[in-house]
């Protein structure tokens, strides 16, 4: 296209361009406003939480984060069991959900499924529309009894006998526990991780696939050499979004995690998470004394954990991008990465 043609086009559309310039300004201003408002909202939330929680942080100091005792009767508040439980259940969820999600996304994109493709996509998306309290009820009345009587005794009998790894599956498998909560969370974050991974794999340029196939790669080698490296940054981002949901999930976890202050290697014992303890205790927490303040400080702690993990994911994505630089891959697909604590 030559310069004169471009000029022709711009001349003929001059009035439109003028209006669109005004539109541009309007758009920029309003989106700036929304962005600033979002940051202000976050700041306000942190400020309110800090304002109400600093009472307990000033009193207990570092012991608030390292203490193992949470006792409203004696007014001793240590958050370690909750931090531990939150991280462990989320980790189980990620370990279980991400491989399944990536496999599902590859299945939908890379394997010719025929008529099965659309129903499968819709079904995975539908999982995201189920309210978390329904997951919780299902977990409490169906999954936990099944785990207690079948799955967990089996795990304790088999994996539990292996040294080191076995320590995760020892003890008494009765009632809600960390493993049940992790599995519920895995099911809950599956849709979001799958949906994003699916989209990211869909935008991998076909040239890359064709190049790999042209070099004689099998379908599996093509996925491993072309698709996954390109999509890696995006998959990390999707994982982080899933992690954000897992960290912040409240009611389903409160129903199946066992709500005990356990702190140990075994996943078959009751645990407790930060959102669960806030949901359980906030309604009746007295504003006289430290109790309410301690719960708000826990909320602040959860935000800090989410922030640290988000920063780590950014670093991770950045590093992968750098490692793969030269090929110019990974760059385009690194979009979503900040974990948003939902719930």
């Amino acid at each position: 296209m030559s310069q004169t043609v471009l000029d022709d086009i711009s001349r003929s559309r001059a009035p439109v361009r003028k209006r669109s310039r005004f539109g541009d300004v309007l758009f920029r201003r309003s989106s700036l406003g929304v962005a600033a408002g979002l940051i202000a909202l976050l700041g306000l939330m942190v400020w309110v939480l800090a304002q109400n929680g600093d009472h307990v942080l000033a009193h207990f100091g570092i012991h608030f984060f390292t203490g193992r005792s949470w006792n409203p009767v004696t007014e001793t508040y240590g958050a370690l069991p909750f931090i531990f439980g939150t991280l462990v259940t989320s980790a189980i969820a990620i370990v279980l959900a991400v491989p399944v999600s990536v496999a599902l996304a590859l299945l939908i994109n890379e394997v010719r499924l025929g008529w099965l493709r659309n129903p499968l996509t819709v079904l995975v998306d539908l999982l995201a529309a189920i309210p978390s309290v329904v997951y919780g009820l299902w977990g409490l009345f169906i999954m936990v009894p099944w785990f207690d009587h079948t799955v967990e005794p089996f795990l304790a009998e088999t994996v539990g006998r292996i040294p080191l790894l076995g320590a995760l599956f020892r003890g008494n498998p009765n009632g809600g526990d960390l493993l049940s909560a992790g599995v519920i969370l895995a099911v809950m974050i599956l849709p979001i991780v799958t949906a994003i991974t699916r989209e990211i794999i869909a935008i991998v340029p076909n040239e890359l696939r064709e190049a790999a196939l042209a070099l004689g790669a099998t379908r599996y080698e093509m996925i491993r050499m072309s698709v996954l490296p390109y999509a890696r940054g995006g998959i990390v981002g999707a994982t982080m979004l899933g992690l954000g949901r897992a960290l912040g999930e409240t009611i389903a976890v409160a129903m199946v995690v066992g709500n005990g202050l356990g702190l140990g290697a075994s996943l078959l014992r009751p645990g407790y998470t930060i959102p669960a303890v806030i949901a359980n205790e906030f309604r009746e927490a007295s504003s006289i004394g430290f109790h309410r303040s301690a719960l708000l400080a826990l909320a602040l702690t959860l935000m800090a954990i989410a922030l640290v993990l988000a920063a780590m994911s950014r670093l991770l994505v950045g590093r992968t991008a750098k490692l793969l630089a030269g090929g110019g891959t990974a760059e385009g697909a690194a979009a979503p990465s900040a974990p948003a604590v939902s719930g």
């Binding site: 409490l140 009632g175 005990g260 202050l261 309604r283 009746e284 504003s287």
Partner: protein
């Protein structure tokens, strides 16, 4: 069933009667002069909510305008909203603490309304008889010191019952609740070990076990696990068909099975006015269930700020609830107040004032 047919027939005849009255163009004897009541709002305890809901519904047939909106948000929230005067009356399972009473801007009364109890429920297939447990044993189970159902401490109290060697799985409340407050207060009275290691509160640091959400969460935990033991409110245990134990407290002469009757008896020695330390645990009355509790309505002494209609409505409602309303309580598996307590309650009611003067019950509630 019979009962519901009867009450249905009664309701039908009342409706027919009312229809007859309204179709009659001349106003019946008292519709003009009688007080119809007005809408009100209350908030607080969840434990008595089923009774209160039933009462508000029945009271509409006494004063047709008295639409009472009760928000069962928990005792803590009830006290808070009552203190900040966003509701006309509050409700709490625990009496106001001294600090809470001191933060009220005006003096208020606590009216006991109904009674309930905590039962120790368990899941032991094959054990059909009610287990017998005394206070220290229950405390040691929940402390994790007794870990098997065939522990000598349990078998010695249950001669003739063959108890399995199943491990005991403790299930407790995870959310904070008046139920937990009652149960842990009782355990603190029964066991010095419990008092020093755990103590009493709406939420405590449980030495063992898993936590369920609400009565339903605890009941689910008990039903799903063989060998489980937990505590739930009496009316919940009855309606969900859980097995529960006969309890012997430190003041009981024998094991007492929880029932509407035995819980009612526990309040026999209750003295008004209610103070922060009032409770009806370990009653010395014969046949009284040891883990019983009462629940309170919170009402300001001076009702002037509510206005004349609301002041009269709230007075009438409490008057009615303490007299005729008590007959509806046991049908819901709650225990009615013993007449000695209801009398003291009514006595306290006469101390409410509007514009510096006492209030008289409307003729319709008498």
């Amino acid at each position: 069933m019979k009962r519901s047919i009867f009450s249905g027939a009664l309701a039908l005849s009342v409706m027919l009667l009312a229809a007859g009255c309204s179709s009659n163009s001349s106003p019946s004897n008292s519709t003009n002069s009688s007080f119809k009541g007005t809408a009100m709002t209350g908030a607080g305890a969840t434990f008595p909510a089923p009774v209160y809901t039933q009462w508000f519904k029945s009271f509409l047939s006494v004063e047709s305008g008295a639409k009472i909106n009760y928000q069962a948000i928990g005792s803590g929230g009830g006290i808070q909203q009552f203190t900040s005067k966003t509701v006309d009356f509050g409700a709490s399972d625990a009496p106001l603490k001294d600090a809470e009473a001191a933060s009220l801007s005006r003096p208020a009364f606590m009216f006991p309304t109904v009674l309930g109890g905590d039962v120790v429920a368990y899941n032991l297939p094959g054990v059909t008889a009610h287990l017998k447990l005394d206070g220290p044993t229950v405390a040691n189970i929940f402390l994790g010191k007794i870990t098997k159902w065939n522990d000598p401490a349990i078998t010695s109290q249950n001669p003739g019952v063959s108890l399995p060697a199943t491990a005991i799985q403790v299930v407790h409340r995870a959310d904070e609740s008046g139920t937990t407050f009652v149960f842990t207060s009782w355990l603190s009275q029964e066991s010095s070990d419990w008092m020093s290691k755990v103590g009493a509160g709406k939420g405590v640091q449980w030495p063992v076990g898993t936590g369920g959400n609400g009565n339903s969460g605890v009941a689910a935990g008990i039903k799903q696990t063989q060998g489980a033991v937990g505590y739930v409110e009496y009316q919940y245990a009855v309606s969900s068909g859980l097995g529960f134990a006969d309890i012997k407290g430190k003041s009981s002469s024998d094991y007492v099975s929880p029932s509407v009757d035995s819980i009612s008896k526990a309040a026999g020695s209750l003295q008004l006015p209610i103070t922060s330390s009032t409770n009806i645990l370990d009653s010395t009355a014969a046949g009284a269930y040891p883990i019983a509790s009462t629940t309170y309505l919170l009402i300001y002494k001076d009702l002037t700020p509510l206005g004349k209609d609301k002041a009269q409505t709230i007075y009438d409602f409490v008057y009615w609830a303490l007299t005729k309303g008590q007959q509806e309580v046991s049908g819901l598996n709650y225990a009615p107040l013993p007449s000695t307590v209801a009398q003291q309650d009514l006595q306290q009611l006469t101390q409410l004032t509007y514009n510096g003067q006492g209030i008289q019950p409307s003729p319709s509630v008498k």
